[in-house]
Symmetry: none
Subunit: 230 residues, 2 copies
Amino acid sequence: MEGENGDEEYLKDETESRGEILVAKVVTDEQIQTLRKQIAAYTIISEQLRRMHDVMSVQYLAETGSFYNLYGDPYLTFTSSRIASRNRWTPKSTQLKILEHEFEECNGNPGKQKITEITAQLAQHGPITESSVYNWFQNRRARCKRKKLEGGEAPETKNEACKKKRKKPDSSKTVENAASSTTWKAENLHSQSAEIGNQMLPFDYFSLTSVGSFGCGGWDEQFEGNQLFG
Amino acid sequence: MEGENGDEEYLKDETESRGEILVAKVVTDEQIQTLRKQIAAYTIISEQLRRMHDVMSVQYLAETGSFYNLYGDPYLTFTSSRIASRNRWTPKSTQLKILEHEFEECNGNPGKQKITEITAQLAQHGPITESSVYNWFQNRRARCKRKKLEGGEAPETKNEACKKKRKKPDSSKTVENAASSTTWKAENLHSQSAEIGNQMLPFDYFSLTSVGSFGCGGWDEQFEGNQLFG
DNA sequence: TGCATATGAATGAACG
DNA sequence: CGTTCATTCATATGCA
């Protein structure tokens, strides 16, 4: 920060009179940007330090059985409930508001760049990291979608921002894929088999070789509506 | 061929001579088609299962002494043994260790051949497929990179091939599932704070607090509400 | 004192 | 390869 000397004085005034985010006259946009970055950086650092502490605490506890003497201060004992419990970010209401707003704005899917911006913005209201923002959007999308599916039909809610573009046919494409993939690039081949192994086989996998019984319940169903080779 | 009445004899002959698929008079073309489909599908699935079996089961048996739980609960967590369907592979701790090691070894990018090798190796510790290994490396690379970028929009030699410094082979890894989540955070911490400290902050970041009060109202509440350091 | 639900986070798999 | 999805885990919180 290059605001020493004269500038400093102005800044001081600002602070005293407003006590909050200051606008314009004395500070340039660039300076504000710098501040924001700093704050954001601080936020991140603090958060990480805290996490580090949590990790250390856990390990320490594991080894010693207590927090006695951790950091050389016997008074710093915590109840077990507090130990590593602070790893999880919880959005403040102000942050949530911003997030919700951006969610609609971006149609649920901000780019990487946008996330950085949002993070910076949110950092002004509390500690946060890009990962958290990223996670938030991911979860939001996923849960929004799920809710829609469950609710059957009634896309009438204001949450129309949750329109999904990506689709996945459905899990029954399993066999289909297996059939069509021949190259190793068929990375699904294996996994699909796994799926088959777990879900489709009506009985013991190891006796499959002797399964000549075509009537065998589940099988018909599986392949019936499945266009397997059609 | 003991002499008997007509119909019955007919069917009986059918069954005895074939000993398998009941062709009986009632089978339509459509049904036959269905059967063919089933057979074809079965062929493919069997082949896949065989491969899976080759890869995974023998060692599993050697390890556990039985096949109990194979496919049932592929990864026995310390929580509850949920039965049945999990299609998704979950690396065991031993497998993870190997993967991590290989990741460093290969600089994050093993060739196809290498993957096959690794798969074989991993198979000794539990069911796995090549595609899973492949995916694992892909994800690892991607997330490693992302993590780096997030550490600050620091402009730097992006040529660097995601050199990992993961791991501290340390102690309490028996419980490692629980610890794994915190693990990367701790590690992540180093690079991030370092980068931020060196590149973003124009001055000692510990003095940020004084700036914070000026640049951002409501800063205090953040810590108050967040019990940053317990 | 537990369960029930909400949600942040982690991660295998899939898409373009 | 970079992103996104889908699912699960783990924790927080509220209720009975």
